[in-house]
């Protein structure tokens, strides 16, 4: 049983619209630090939208905006006037459904964020790249070919490379949008094992369509339906004795 944890990301009374369409309705979630939180729900329920709100990725979409409420990262409103979006995104990293390896060497992929943050000292960069690759359980597989293109890696390795690149800048929170949907079962398990290992250092929020994955990897689960959080709680409780009938029907395959 996980011990109680402080809130890393607090979502308070949040409404979000694409143009005039409200896609998130009065969302309240306290996402625990150093835990894995899974967002589940049918397509179009708003889980990815909320995920992208947490590092303000939706800012790039014309007409998309928060119309009510706020999101706090370690107590600070992420839309506050003093918040630097670039810095926010280094504190809240993101791993996507399809691995987005840059057309560079394995080393440079991981070093990319570090250089972007102005780190120039080669020895520091080397040290951080190795550390991130080790944390991503990729070091042993790539240490002899760090200068080769990242595209030469397998799908699972590419996704772990993206995780290494994300954690190299030491974020507080890592957002993952269906990170294993394009991976084979073994590569999926490696990524899941990685999350479980790294959760003592990072807070993970994972959108997944796989109920088994949510039940395997997460401490807490939020079930979204039509822009609302129907139920949020301990994953074990959610998958053995959910409070809400809609949750039970969705997770057991009776609607959605």
């Amino acid at each position: 049983m996980a011990t109680p944890s402080r809130t890393a990301v607090g979502v308070e009374n949040l409404d979000f619209c694409y143009g005039t369409t409200k896609v998130l309705k009065n969302i309240n979630l306290a996402i625990a630090a150093n835990r894995v939180t899974a967002f589940i729900g049918p397509s179009g329920c708003g889980k990815s939208t909320l995920l992208r709100c947490i590092n303000r990725m939706n800012d790039e979409i014309p007409g998309a905006r928060i119309t009510k409420g706020r999101i706090c990262l370690n107590g600070t409103d992420i839309h506050g006037p003093k918040v630097d979006v670039v810095k926010l995104r280094s504190e809240v990293g993101m791993v996507f459904q399809k691995s987005n390896v840059f057309p560079r060497s394995i080393f440079d992929n991981v070093a990319y964020g570090l250089r972007l943050r102005g780190i120039r000292d080669a020895s520091v960069i080397e040290e951080r790249v190795e550390s991130a690759l080790r944390q991503a359980a990729l070091w042993d597989e790539v240490k002899d070919r760090l200068q080769e293109s990242g595209f030469g890696l397998s799908g699972g390795q590419q996704q772990r490379l993206c995780i290494a690149r994300t954690i190299a800048v030491k974020p507080n929170v890592v957002l993952m949008d269906e990170p294993c949907s394009a991976l084979d079962p073994i590569a999926t398990l490696k990524v899941e094992e990685l999350l479980w290992e790294l959760r003592s250092e990072y807070t993970f929020v994972v959108v997944t369509h796989s109920m088994q994955q949510a039940s395997r990897i997460s401490d807490h689960t939020a079930f979204f339906y039509m822009g609302e959080v129907v139920e949020y709680g301990l994953t074990q409780t959610m998958f053995t004795n959910p409070r809400e009938k809609r949750t039970e029907e969705y997770i057991s395959g009776r609607f959605g």
Binding site: T240, N241, E248, S252, G253, R254, G256
Partner: protein, 235 residues
């Protein structure tokens, strides 16, 4: 009750599991009833039928486990579906043990029937009625998810235990002056013991019914309360 599953084969698998378990329960009750009838009516042939039919219950126990495992592997059930699979597999183990006790009663009955007439067998009937009612209601609590009925089984089993205890005391006393009937009385004591165990197993089925209905584990609840009270008192 849950609505239909999107993948219809899942509903078929769950239906099969329930059917197998209910068939097993009905065969188990039938074995117990026949074992008792063989004893009360001095019907050796009927006791042989019980001993032979036990293998059907054994086969069903294996089938329930196979169906349950298949559902776990293929469908990854969650929530009440998961609880249904787990509780069905546990209940099938209880039923198989009750059927084993029916066989034990049938074997003892055969031996008693070969000896002189033993009027004391009639004393056992009320105990059987209590055990059988417990088993019937345990299965009803499971199929109807009747938590209240399930939670009441424990208290009813205590009544059965009291009767069991008094019957053992009474038969032990008779043993002292039994002369030619001592062996038969000893067999009867073992019959009583089997009925008491059948009652306990029915209570276990009721506990599984509660787990299915509201996900609460009420096993050993009274012991837990006592332990907590002791810790509190120590503090």
């Amino acid at each position: 009750m849950n609505g239909p599953h999107i993948f219809r084969d899942f509903d078929n698998a769950i239906r099969t599991l329930k059917d197998e378990l209910l068939l097993m329960a009905s065969l188990t009750r039938q074995n117990l009833e026949r074992a008792m009838r063989s004893l009360l009516d001095r019907d050796i042939e009927l006791s042989r039928v019980v001993i032979g039919d036990d293998s059907d219950v054994d086969d069903l126990e294996i089938r329930v486990d196979q169906t349950g495992m298949e559902i776990l592997v293929r469908h990854h059930p969650v929530a009440s579906d998961l609880r249904l699979v787990i509780s069905s597999m546990k209940i099938s183990t209880c039923l198989e043990r009750i059927s084993d006790h029916a066989v034990n009663i049938a074997k003892r009955s055969k031996k008693i029937c070969r000896g002189p007439e033993l009027p004391d067998v009639a004393l056992v009937e009320p105990l059987y009625v209590m055990a059988d009612n417990l088993l019937r209601d345990a299965m009803i609590s499971f199929t109807d998810q009747n938590i209240e009925l399930a939670e009441g089984l424990k208290a009813r089993d205590k009544e059965l235990d009291r009767l069991h205890k008094s019957l053992i005391a009474s038969l032990s006393e008779r043993l002292e002056h039994a002369e030619g009937k001592a062996e038969s009385l000893l067999h009867l004591i073992f019959v009583i013991r089997s009925l008491e165990r059948a009652g306990d197993l029915a209570v276990n089925i009721g506990e599984d019914a509660v787990f299915l209905g509201n996900a609460k584990d009420i096993r050993h609840a009274s012991k837990k309360v006592t332990k907590e009270a002791r810790i509190e008192a120590d503090e």
